[in-house]
């Protein structure tokens, strides 16, 4: 199999300084001239939340926001977006406080195995930034470039709609679903109406 029937991989392309603002932080890394943004983010910047699924633009796991637009980092030459503002899944939360879209994905089953989740979150956040009351059809059109193999998308759409409601101010972030119903009196199984402190 030796011979000219392949493309030489070395010497590697010339390295250059690549800079951008990633998640609010100015980064400057040494990257080859031919680098793809996804590789730079994962291998140089260290934002491993950006996932490599298909590497060819179908799965959407590598979606990041570039200057506010959701784009596929696997098809984006790093050199072409040098100097831009990049937001990855790691930049969605405000410190320890999850963004509504993040907590809604957790609460509404939008994430199962979680591998496609970073891409969906970024795409969905970009949609909500533009439109906080999307129809289900608009949500579908926004996420049509993201592939999820676990959820069948339905709970993802539910999650995005729930987050949209929070963005509109119509809903509070959901309380943990494990909270019991608001019966104020703890009671034993045989006498459910027994008031507290009642001596026997």
């Amino acid at each position: 199999m030796v011979g000219t029937e392949h493309v030489e991989m070395i010497p590697v392309a010339k390295k250059e300084i690549w800079s951008a603002e990633v998640n609010g932080r100015a980064v400057e890394v040494l990257a080859p001239s031919n680098a793809v943004l996804l590789d730079v983010l994962r291998d140089k910047v260290g934002t491993l939340g950006v996932k490599r699924g298909c590497d060819l633009g179908t799965c959407g796991c590598c979606t990041v926001m570039i200057d506010g637009t959701p784009r596929l980092s696997c098809l984006c030459l790093a050199g072409q977006v040098e100097g831009s503002t990049i937001l990855t899944v790691e930049g969605l939360a405000d410190g320890a406080h999850l963004a509504p879209i993040q907590s809604c994905f957790a609460e509404h089953g939008g994430s199962q195995c979680g591998f496609c989740t970073p891409g969906f979150l970024v795409t969905a956040q970009a949609l909500l930034n533009e439109n906080d009351s999307p129809t289900d059809q608009e949500v579908a059109c926004a996420i049509e470039g993201n592939l999820c193999r676990c959820t069948g998308y339905q709970q993802i759409v539910d999650s995005i709609q729930a987050a949209a409601a929070i963005h509109r101010g119509e809903a509070e972030p959901a309380a943990p679903a494990s909270n019991p119903h608001p019966d104020p009196h703890p009671s034993g199984p045989e006498e459910p109406q027994m008031p507290p402190g009642h001596a026997r």
């Binding site: 199999m1 991989m9 999850l98 989740t117 959820t151 339905q154 119903h181 009642h198």
Partner: protein, 934 residues
């Protein structure tokens, strides 16, 4: 919150008595940070406590042995996955996210030939390339492995032959990816190309060079890896049918299509132990295989399961690239990371088998199903993988939920020079199920009855035995059918909609955990073990080997522990990543995790609970029978004021022994028949499902759009309804892919033409119908809190439901999956020819007028409904075996009462002439019976 009981300091708590017995109100407690985050005890949540033990949760299916362990804390509540915060913040670490210091990159050299002998491999140029740190070939890994002990036919890298394009030949580790890729081009491999086999039908014939050689057990010189024959019941019943269906199916292979490609990191730590990071569904089998391949005892290997970016069966074999990484890491002394390209993912495959399935079925004059005759020829590709099991599942998982007069199955799995098929969601059951359900639809049309009524009048009841000897326990099939019929408004749509619009029904039946573990026999280890530790801080650490692949098994285990101990979920910490710390678990396959692990976890939690109650008894003076656990507190059931905090009871219990430790295990009971293959398909419980699908067919283009699905699944008890619904909808998505668009395309040269996600067509959000998930709770007596599986079974019914709906829409039966538009259009063209019309818009869709049998079926279904309810609630405990519907006495062995009743695992000589396609494998003899000396 007023009226509650403070669990933490912060108020003017007043201890009124010193004996600790009757202390009401606020109490002095250990420092903050202990015992959960809410200082006040939550009220008991009666909506989630079964009515049998004083709560308000309805139990139509009767009481359950775990009812007393219910505290209303988390079971049955929609619960976010406990690891979801890691996932939504991008912090979940998958295979390729493990980056160790000094790592090097591994790459694999793959075969460019379908089938060839390796004559020599010259690695000298590779080794000379600067930056290359290690090179390995088949010579470095002579030991064979495989997921099933009976069929170990894989090597880390090809030893003698390559068996498909993409088979592993050698591997290399280098300082960076570019160097590793360049190195691959410097291998000099000399091949002797052999004649490949692609068509499974050819695989049944003798070959010059069979793909594998099994010695004296090899079947002549064929490529048959496994053949199965099973026959039960009275075959004379099929001779005078009222209705019959005969369908020949051609089903393409499909792939799991998980979003995360395989990746592995191997590192030999300074103590010489292997640390292997891999997204595995079944880390334990990898652990075993590594020990074999590397010649290292298992205790010197730590398999660390990373987060798994989707599995669906595709990450459940021990994989050669895992071995390669370990070998390269050992040779180079550096951590080695190997990540697959998508193309490599398709080459390692293990997807659903491409299948030729033939189903004949008959019904008698009372519309009873007198016989199933199934023949399945499945294309295994280059290796055995799970194929031994798949060969059985293709037949035996069709023996329920219907009562059958007879059952006949022949199956064969052949090796071909393609990437290996294996286990995929709905393992082995999916294709046959589709064929069977479509056959029932066809028979109901012949008999002029409603297909749902036909099913309702032929169901096996709860607590019965199938024709092949499976023990059915809980059974929610009837309720599932009734719910989808009602939800979909079936009676006013079926056979009544205009051309192009259709509605169809399909049912499913699947195992909830495999009754016999793959690797255990004859050792009687438990199937699942859970260790639990509670130290003075009050947090509960649960060690389990259950592999969470996104289905939420970690959450399920946390939930049941939280439920039994009445502790909030955030106090339960599940550690399941490392084989060093977790007890052995068989992994996430055959839908066993929730059933077996949660059962083991409940046992461990009950042990802890007993210690806590005994401590509370000592403190409060009330016997544990009179104590209630609720939200971090134990109290006297007649007076909640008399109680003790969880933490105080815990500390009391710890006085003499430190941290509380418990271990729980689950092993399925002995069951099933004694015939050869009786263990295949045995499970401690079975799930049931019924779906109705609605489709729009564009008759001019053949495009199918599934618009609505009503999906009822009997999961016993939904521990986490959010996750169960997610599984149901996700299964619909995957099943729709298989029935409408997904297919591994092997072109005329045998090459896989579409090894990428653009051409392997997984449905996008636009192809998803609205799915109405309907949870049926039949409360399984052996399941944890009554639960059964919900991960695989829900996939089965969607295929036949769609195929039947397409028939309802255009009146054409299609039996080539997937139903891509060209397949449908070809069918439409045939239909036009048959109907003598030029324009597809002039076709007519089928109509039905119910015949004389319909009222009879409705009556029988109504009677059976009464029967089933009594059996479900154990009001009727008489034995019931398949055959009672045909007038047999369940108390007598069938062989004694029916002349011609047969249980056979080999064909009679006179049957040989009539066997189907796969059955032809029985015309061949094993080498040991051929008188040869091989």
């Amino acid at each position: 919150m007023s009226g509650g009981y403070r669990q933490q300091p912060g108020g003017a708590g007043k201890v009124t008595r010193k004996d600790g017995k009757r202390v009401a109100g606020k109490q002095a407690f250990p420092p903050p940070g202990s015992g959960g985050s809410n200082p006040t005890m939550a009220p008991r949540d009666l909506d989630f406590i079964p009515e049998m033990v004083g709560g308000k949760e309805a139990q139509p299916a009767g009481a359950h042995v775990h009812d007393r362990a219910r505290t209303g804390t988390s079971v049955g509540k929609p619960t976010a996955l406990v690891d979801s915060n890691a996932k939504v913040t991008g912090q979940a670490w998958y295979g390729d996210d493990v980056r160790l210091a000094n790592e090097v990159i591994g790459k694999i050299l793959r075969s460019p030939h379908h089938y060839a002998k390796i004559k020599s491999i010259d690695t000298s140029k590779v080794e000379a390339l600067p930056g290359v740190l290690a090179v390995a070939t088949g010579a470095d890994s002579p030991h064979q492995f495989g997921v099933l002990p009976v069929t170990k036919d894989e090597h880390a890298m090809a030893v003698e032959k390559v068996r498909h394009v993409g088979d592993l030949v050698a591997c290399v580790a280098a300082v960076d990816e570019a160097t590793a890729m360049e190195a691959l081009n410097l291998f000099e491999v000399e091949y002797e190309v052999l004649e490949p086999v692609f068509d499974p039908k050819k695989g049944l014939e003798d070959a010059d060079e069979p793909i594998h050689w099994r010695g004296k057990y090899h079947l002549a010189r064929t490529n048959v890896q496994k053949r199965v024959f099973q026959e039960f019941g009275d075959r004379s019943l099929v001779e005078t049918p009222l209705a019959s269906s005969h369908g020949k199916w051609n089903m393409a292979g499909v792939h799991h299509g998980f979003t995360e490609p395989h990746a592995v990191v191997a590192h030999w730590d300074p103590n010489g132990r292997l640390q292997l990071y891999t997204p595995q569904q079944v880390p334990h089998y990898t652990h075993r295989a590594l020990a074999t391949v590397l010649d290292v005892p298992m205790h010197q290997i730590n398999v660390i399961r990373t987060f798994v970016g989707g599995g669906f069966g595709g990450k459940s074999d021990p994989f050669p690239h895992e071995m390669c990484a370990a070998i390269l890491a050992r040779k180079s002394g550096r951590p080695v990371r190997i990540t697959f390209d998508r193309e490599e993912v398709y080459w390692i495959n293990r997807g659903r088998h491409p299948s030729h399935i033939e189903v004949k079925m008959t019904a008698d004059e009372e519309a009873r199903i007198s016989g199933f005759d199934i023949d399945a020829l499945i294309d295994g590709g280059g290796f055995a993988s799970f194929g031994h099991v798949t060969s059985y599942y293709n037949g035996v998982l069709a023996t329920a939920p219907y009562e059958l007069g007879s059952f006949h199955y022949t199956g064969a799995r052949v090796w071909t020079n393609k990437p290996a098929s294996g286990a995929m969601r709905g393992h082995g059951a999916v294709n046959t199920r589709c064929a069977v359900e479509v056959g029932l639809d066809e028979m109901s049309e012949q008999m002029k009855v409603d297909p749902i009524d036909l099913r309702l009048a032929n169901l096996l009841p709860p607590h019965s035995r199938t024709i092949s000897g499976f023990r059915i326990t809980s059974n929610g099939m009837r309720e599932a059918l009734e719910k989808v019929r009602e939800g979909s408004d079936w009676d006013s749509k079926f056979r009544q909609m205009p051309l192009g619009k259709g509605i169809g029904i399909g049912c499913g039946f699947f195992i909830s955990g495999s009754g016999l573990p793959i690797h255990w026999d004859p050792n009687r280890f438990p199937h699942a073990t859970v260790h639990m530790q509670v130290d003075m801080d009050g947090g509960v650490t649960v060690h389990t080997g259950a592999a969470d692949i996104g289905q939420g098994s970690t959450t399920a285990v946390a939930q049941v522990v939280s439920e039994v101990l009445a502790l909030p979920l955030e106090m339960i910490h599940v550690r399941s990543h490392e084989s060093d710390t977790s007890p052995v678990d068989l992994g996430s396959y055959s839908s066993r995790v929730t059933f077996m692990n949660a059962n083991a976890a409940i046992r461990a939690a009950l042990e802890i609970r007993e210690q806590l109650l005994n401590a509370a008894w000592e403190i409060l003076g009330y016997h544990p029978n009179n104590l209630v656990l609720n939200d971090r507190r134990i109290y006297y059931k007649h007076d909640p004021a008399i109680g003790v905090s969880y933490l105080k009871a815990l500390h009391k219990a710890q006085e003499d022994k430190g941290a509380l430790i418990a271990s729980g295990a689950y092993r399925s009971p002995p069951m099933g028949g004694v015939h050869k293959g009786a263990a295949a398909g045995l499970a401690p419980a079975y799930s049931f499902s019924a779906y109705v699908a609605e489709v729009d067919v564009d008759v001019e283009t053949g495009m199918i759009k599934c618009t609505n699905v009503w999906a009822a699944h009997d999961c016993g008890k939904a521990l986490n309804p959010l996750a169960v619904k997610g599984q149901i909808i996700g299964s619909c998505h995957m099943g729709l892919g298989q029935v409408l668009s997904e297919k591994m395309v092997y072109g005329r040269t045998g090459h896989l033409q579409n090894p990428n996600l653009l051409e392997y067509k997984i449905p996008s959000v636009h192809e998803m119908p609205h799915v109405e998930p309907i949870i049926i709770e039949s409360c399984d007596p052996e399941g944890p809190f009554g639960a059964k599986e919900a991960g695989e079974g829900p996939l089965l019914p969607i295929l036949p439901a769609v195929v039947n709906a397409v028939y309802d829409a255009i009146g054409i039966r299609l039996r080539d999956l997937p139903l891509t538009p060209d397949v449908v259009f070809k069918g439409i063209e045939k239909g036009m020819k048959a109907a003598g019309v030029d324009d597809p818009l002039d076709l007519t869709s089928p109509r039905v007028e119910h015949g004389a049998l319909q009222p009879l079926l409705v009556k029988r279904a109504a009677e059976h409904k009464v029967r089933d309810r009594a059996r479900q609630r154990s009001e009727d405990t008489d034995p019931y075996v398949n055959g009672v519907l045909f007038g047999f006495d369940p108390n007598l062995p069938l062989e004694d009462q029916v002349e011609g009743w047969r249980t056979a695992t080999e064909p009679d000589p006179e049957q040989l002439a009539e066997l189907g396609l796969a059955g032809k494998a029985w015309l061949k003899k094993e080498q040991r019976h051929m008188g040869g000396d091989e």
